[in-house]
Symmetry: C2
DNA sequence: TTTTGCAAACCGACCGCCGGTCTTTAAATA
DNA sequence: TATTTAAAGACCGGCGGTCGGTTTGCAAAA
């Protein structure tokens, strides 16, 4: 098997296991069995279990960056068009990623995956920060924005854009259907409020920043329902 | 030794070790040696290493809650006075906690403590959410606020109030003094911007929400400098 | 075309150490 | 003295990781 191929296979297997069982609870044996490779074979390609996680994280970071970088390289009539283009791509990324592998995506937010999810968020945060800071920097230069520090503002905006995850985690802790529905609505409200918060923080008129993709909250809620409840609406 | 006493001693020892070495890298042996107790002795008081961490977290949560709860129980001329009172206490808490044991506080933000720090943040977030949501709820009832959902808004505000931590982490990764100074300034700017962001998100006039305690950023920066650099300004 | 040389890929027994258990002992309390 | 509580420490299974040895693939030599 070619090195590249083997590496990717190991990353794929580990990713699935980490997301479903959690990083700590996935043993090397699990990964080796799943990939059909021996310990020696594995440690030929990766230095440690942690480096494996690092590799998984890097794939996501690269994916995010290759999606977002082109936004910076196009020409736009006004700075606001650049700004909107950035969020269009971001929204598409979020929506696609979630919809494509919903069960896996949902599982990632379980409590047992807290550490893993945190490292993932951090990685993606850093991947985004550079690019979004540049977007804001251009806004400052063009006079469309007035900020004490574009990088700090960018970091703040990105953090704001993650707050719906707290409600997703809460939704995953639901003990009955009505609680899930209530929390699901909060996911949606959170996404709306995030847009408003970023607008106001940057000093833009309400409605410029849109993070809320249509049906996103509903899809997530449905995914969580499938994970937690059976057909009768009983907790699994 | 009395049970309560022993428990607290174990919590104290473990807390110091977890913060300085990280949770994963602190072994039971370390804790037992530091507390001068045997395995059997320890496991008589705690069910597991994780329950020990839980205990440490709970102490912080209780500390936060006992500081903040009284704010809700007082009478105020206007809702805004309650709002200001809340942040006065929050600011005092943050400042005191940091100043009292600066080196330990700073260490907590090292990369190796990411998981620990995350659990701590989560615990304190949840402890605060309930109380701050009630503060906002009262604002909505009194007509001083107009929000789609007080709880979601409270969560968002609390998340905004943690964004300076990202810059603290970045500061801890400084490789030279000038980088540390630059990042230290970002901590301060971040604290200012946080206040503005929360104000605007809630629809209050700028300047109502103040998270930035005088000298906080400078203290932190000094603490990090002591941790990372020797007297000549060289990286340790 | 066949042989040879050799590095890359792979194997799996083995290691040290970790968190946690269990049986035993000592001290306190009644 | 009888009973409960606190503490001790040898011990355990299983974890992540190592290491010496084997196989494989392929280019160069014969």
């Amino acid at each position: 098997m070619k090195p590249e191929e083997r590496r990717n296979q190991l990353l794929d297997c580990a990713q699935m296991l980490f997301f479903s069982k959690g990083f700590e609870d996935t043993t090397m044996q699990d990964i080796l069995a799943s990939a059909g490779v021996s310990k020696g074979g594995f440690y030929h390609h990766f230095k440690s279990k942690d480096e494996l996680l690092e590799g998984i994280l890097n794939r996501f970071v690269e994916q995010t960056q290759t999606a977002l970088r082109p936004v910076l390289e196009q020409e736009y009539p006004t700075w606001l068009d650049l700004y909107h283009a950035y969020f269009d791509v971001l929204r598409a990324q979020m929506s696609d990623g979630a919809r494509a592998r919903l069960p896996l995506f949902v599982m990632m937010f379980q409590d047992r995956n807290a550490a893993l999810q945190q490292r993932m968020s951090d990685a993606i945060y850093i991947a985004n920060l550079e690019i979004f800071a540049e977007v804001l920097q251009r806004g400052v230069r063009s006079g469309d924005l007035d900020l004490p520090d574009a990088e700090v503002a960018a970091g703040l905006a990105l953090k704001i854009g993650t707050t719906h995850q707290d409600w997703m985690r809460k939704a995953l802790r639901s003990t009955d259907l009505s609680e899930l529905v209530t929390t699901g609505q909060k996911i949606d409200i959170s996404l709306q409020l995030q847009g408003i918060a970023i607008d106001r923080m940057l000093g833009l008129p309400d409605g410029n920043t849109c993070i809320r993709a249509d049906g996103f909250a509903d899809d997530i809620t449905a995914g969580i329902k499938d994970l937690l409840f059976d057909e009768d609406g009983q907790l699994k």
